[in-house]
Amino acid sequence: MKILILCDRESGTESGFNLRLRVEEVLKQVGCEVQTIVLNSDEIKPCIGCFGCWVRTPGLCVITNDCANDISRVFMRSDAVVLLTRITYGGFTPDLKAFLDRSIPNILPYFEIYRSKMHHRMRYDRFPWWIAVGYGESLESELEIFRELSERNALNLRPQKHFCLTAKSADECQDVLQALKRIFTEEVGA
């Protein structure tokens, strides 16, 4: 399996625990091919909501002087994407969010009704597995929002499978590693 790890800049230093490195190790151990991209919101231009990626250069962002289109290419060609983010008010950090905002070229502009609500139609036949891993000292309400967000993202992006894991401490980071190991061992073994 080809896995893309998208992570924020802090994910290597969380409470003295290099979550990014450990996740990489675990995924490689179970036989996955892993690529990591550390996102930096200062280097990714904000999405300006122009819809050019839908009606001017379909499938590609019109902003071409940064790395967003290149990351999208790696993203869409992966089997699974692991998003490592510090939970921020229940959502993603600016590093992660800067790219996610710029990833809407990967779906279509057209509306459709899916599970009783309006969503966009899919551009690609398949969307990589979506594994949101939120870390950091979070309030209970933030963890709840983060889990709900993962469900909501899955309704809008329709990955074949999606998972949400959270870790408030270094100990819980170990649990996340175990969970990732289980998820991918089953898949690689299948």
């Binding site: 990714i44 909501g49 839908w54 379909p58 990833s103 929002i145």
Partner: protein
């Protein structure tokens, strides 16, 4: 007189729905709302000065479009900066209100984004009023009356609450213009096709540039 400051979370440089909503609210409450664009403020060298001043207001209004089920990245960045500044702020913090609009029909798509701004207020130790989620955000720029009357009524309700002497924290409110969903969906899809045709890419609209 209350001092109301707004953060416009739309990364659009001109004519954003968020900007129009702030203007409408300003006209209704009849006092000047000092408004800052998140995308500009995070880049300003004197951001800390502006933020220190924002924290002295009575009301902080956060108005933004829904981006991928949550807040646009520059707005999250700005809220983090405000959170930092609030730690050393000695005066009482403004009461936070938020308005989120989305292009989908159902206003409930905005619910998580509004929970996030409520969490932001909690994190900085500020009071929170409520959030207003608006569906079919795109039509607000095209219509002033009729189906959107209920949206403007909800906006006036928020204006009244903001101006009231003692406002309490309450549940978020959700409002979608009064029009059938099938019509909004059909109109939206026709709109996308028209825009693509104008750019001579209608045939390519479903292109898959990243396919292997």
């Amino acid at each position: 007189m209350k001092r109301v400051v707004a953060v416009n979370g739309s990364p659009k440089s001109a004519e954003s729905t968020s900007g129009a909503l702030i203007k409408t609210l300003e006209e209704y409450i009849g006092i000047k709302i000092n408004s800052f664009r998140a995308v500009e403020l995070v880049r300003r060298e004197d951001a800390h000065k502006v933020i220190a001043d924002v924290l002295k207001a009575d009301v902080l209004l956060i108005v933004f479009p829904l981006y991928v089920d949550s807040l646009p990245a520059p707005l999250v960045k700005l809220l983090k900066q405000i959170e930092q500044a609030a730690k050393t702020c000695s005066s009482s913090l403004p009461t936070v209100y938020s308005i989120c609009n989305c292009g989908f029909y159902e206003a409930e798509h905005n619910s998580l984004a509004l929970k996030m701004t409520r969490t932001f207020a909690k994190r900085i130790g500020a009071g929170y009023g409520y959030g207003l989620g608006i569906g079919c955000g795109g039509v607000l720029a095209q219509m002033e009356k009729g189906p959107v009357d209920n949206v403007y009524a909800a906006l006036r309700d928020m204006g009244d609450t903001i101006m009231a002497e003692n406002s309490k924290e309450s549940e978020d409110a959700f409002i979608t213009p009064k029009m059938p969903r099938f019509l909004y969906k059909m109109g939206g899809n026709i709109g996308w096709r028209q825009m693509a045709r104008k750019n001579a890419v209608l045939k390519q609209i479903k292109e898959k540039p990243h396919s292997l």
